[in-house]
């Protein structure tokens, strides 16, 4: 609840309180699955490793990957790539068969209120089994929490925490993620 302070009028306080109530109503509701455009593949793994400077042989060579339990002739994907497989990419769209709802349904509500900027602040990933070449990854998400309004170095906004569980084509959980963003109104544009 916003208290009447820092010069806000009654009407402004009421508007913010209604907005925050609307945000809170999204907590816990699950969306998904969000599918991957591509199965886990060597080309995308190589592009990632090339850009990151990662020379781990398990990401390039099946014989090295086999020591980590990968199937025959398959490489292992960097575990930290988990989230990338289900990203929308250039189109901004999830592949056909995905849930058509927003994976983070509070985002349009923030945009409508002028909280247009976003920056990620925390990412906690747990890896339960290797993600290997040929795997087909999907994710299901829910909003864990939305903070009260915060004034940060970047601007005024809200921290949103999302939980995502990632599964493979055998419906086995391969990992999970807690992801926190700040959705905010910047103090000012940089000229």
């Amino acid at each position: 609840m916003i208290q009447k302070s820092n010069g806000l009028s009654d009407v402004e306080c009421q508007e913010i309180n209604l907005f925050e109530q609307e945000l809170q109503s999204y907590i816990g509701s699950e969306s998904g699955p969000f599918l991957s455009w591509d199965r886990v593949n060597r080309a995308m793994i190589r592009h990632w490793c090339e850009a990151m400077g990662d020379a781990n042989p398990a990401y390039y060579h099946a014989d090295a990957a086999a020591q980590l339990g990968a199937p025959q002739n398959a490489v292992v994907a960097p575990p930290t790539m988990m989230q990338s497989w289900t990203m929308t990419g250039f189109s901004g769209e999830h592949p056909p068969g995905s849930d058509t709802r927003e994976s983070m349904p509070v985002m349009p509500i923030f945009d409508r209120q002028g909280y247009l900027a976003v920056v990620a602040t925390n990412c906690e990933q747990e890896y339960l089994q290797p993600i290997c070449e040929g795997d087909d990854i999907n994710g299901r998400s829910s909003i864990e929490s939305v903070s009260s309004q915060k004034t940060t170095g970047l601007g005024v906004g809200y921290f949103v925490t999302q939980l995502t569980e990632f599964r493979n084509q055998r419906d086995e959980v391969v990992g999970n993620m807690r992801f926190r963003i700040l959705k905010y109104k910047p103090h000012s544009a940089v000229s």
Binding site: M44, H47, W48, E50, A51, M52, G53, D54, A55, N56, P57, A58, A64, Q67, L68, P78, P79, T80, M81, Q83, S84, W85, M87, T88, G89, F90, G92, L116, A117, V118, V119, A120, T121, N122, C123, E124, Q125, E126, Y127, P130, L154, G155, P186, H187, S188, A189, V190, S191
Partner: protein
């Protein structure tokens, strides 16, 4: 690539430091490789309009560098179980991220070690991370 064994690791061991030169090329290439097309990772004008002086590294890439930093040390037989990061000062082009790490705990039950990984740039801590990796 040599492999670190669980027996050889002691709490307090320091990982070899790694310096990562942050360039616009690196920021955009890693954003795209991680499938992140948010404009603040490739469009300087868009970044400025949103209050940032320049494009900056996306969180998936920071996560990737933390993972890479740890498996560079363990060798290919190290299995990441957890990477938990908190971001601070953004990585902008022209900066250098200095990565360091330390073993903070050992768990005999599953032969895992817990590491604290820090990446600093000219402004301060870009990332503080906790990593759990299982060793042979």
């Amino acid at each position: 690539m040599t492999n670190i064994t669980y027996r050889a690791v002691q709490v307090g061991d320091q990982l070899p430091k790694l310096a990562v030169d942050i360039t616009a090329k690196l920021i955009t290439a890693t954003a795209i490789a991680s499938r992140d097309y948010q404009n603040v990772h490739h469009d300087q004008d868009a970044a400025r309009a949103l209050g940032s002086p320049n494009i900056f590294m996306n969180i998936l890439t920071t996560n990737g560098f933390v993972g890479r930093y740890v498996t560079d040390w363990t060798g290919a037989l190290g299995v990441l179980k957890k990477v938990a990061i908190k971001l601070g000062a953004p990585n902008y082009p022209g900066d250098t991220m200095q990565m360091s790490g330390e073993v903070v705990a050992k768990n005999d039950v599953d032969q895992s070690v817990e590491l604290k990984v820090i990446g600093t740039n000219d402004i301060g801590h870009h990332v503080v991370g906790e990593v759990v990796v299982v060793l042979p």
